[in-house]
Subunit: 163 residues, 2 copies
């Protein structure tokens, strides 16, 4: 089985797939008479298609253990999808470039403390994958009309190793 | 000085001012082969005016202690503003009904574990007010053109008591 080893997530290595939502390195400025710092506009929320609107949801996911077998990725042709963890545990982010309508070689990232992601519209990605413990995530994605889900099942699954 | 005592935050008592973002009582359904539960569409994100788009930001606020003096409330005529805490501590939410263009008698709420709020467009509210400890919040609000801030300074400040 072909195998991947996850990389630590950074703004730079995730840039082809979306944005890392984090305070480190972000533009920020004081508000509320200096009592609060605003780390501003950390993600590009994309809302395509008809009657599109942003949704705020909470996702409560069971945890996964590495190594794991990646059999499927999906993408959302009509909108981006942001996930921000509500716990201190890392999560695994799997994405893949598109190659003529199907996913190419996947890449895997493991988040550090305080990191969330915004997966760009129409970007192949694995399901939400908390590590170490079950976890809640705040999710900002797209509601509206139309089919916003495409799934791809790999002929040969990928093995994602422990980092 | 006129005084207010905060109430525990509930969907019902906050309904005139926006939505409580919480899993309790929310519509939910399984995703990801049953490994994840989605508590769906918990807030009404409002995006008014020209070139409006949703922003995802992180707000890092110093904490406040009760009792406190409330001298000012503000409102955003062009968009809603959601705050979800990234820590387990409560925060204070102050809002006020509009009375002919100025805020009426304020109401104060204290959040419970896992509760965030989405303050409706053009609703008078106090600044972000974490209690007990400095805290980070994920914020979803509106970017775009136009003046999206109106402030009102009370002629006589309000005292907000400890609950």
């Amino acid at each position: 089985m072909k195998a991947l080893t996850p990389e630590p997530l950074t703004r730079e290595n995730f840039a082809p797939f979306g944005q890392v939502i984090e305070t480190a390195g972000a533009h920020h400025y004081p508000i509320n008479s200096g009592n609060c710092e605003r780390f501003h506009d950390l993600a590009r929320v994309e809302l395509g298609g008809v009657h599109a609107r942003p949704l705020i949801s909470i996702l409560r996911s069971k945890s996964y253990a590495l190594p794991l077998t990646l059999g499927m990725v999906e993408r959302h042709p009509l909108g981006s999808q942001a996930f921000y963890p509500l716990s201190a545990h890392p999560f695994l982010v799997v994405v893949a470039p598109d190659q003529a309508g199907i996913p190419g070689t996947p890449r895997a990232f493991v988040t550090g403390p305080g990191q969330g992601v915004n997966i760009a519209m129409n970007t192949w990605h694995g399901v939400l994958t908390p590590l170490e413990a079950d976890a809640d995530f705040l999710c900002v994605d797209r509601g509206g009309e139309g089919n916003n889900l495409e799934e791809h099942f790999f002929a040969k699954p990928w093995l994602i190793r422990a980092p």
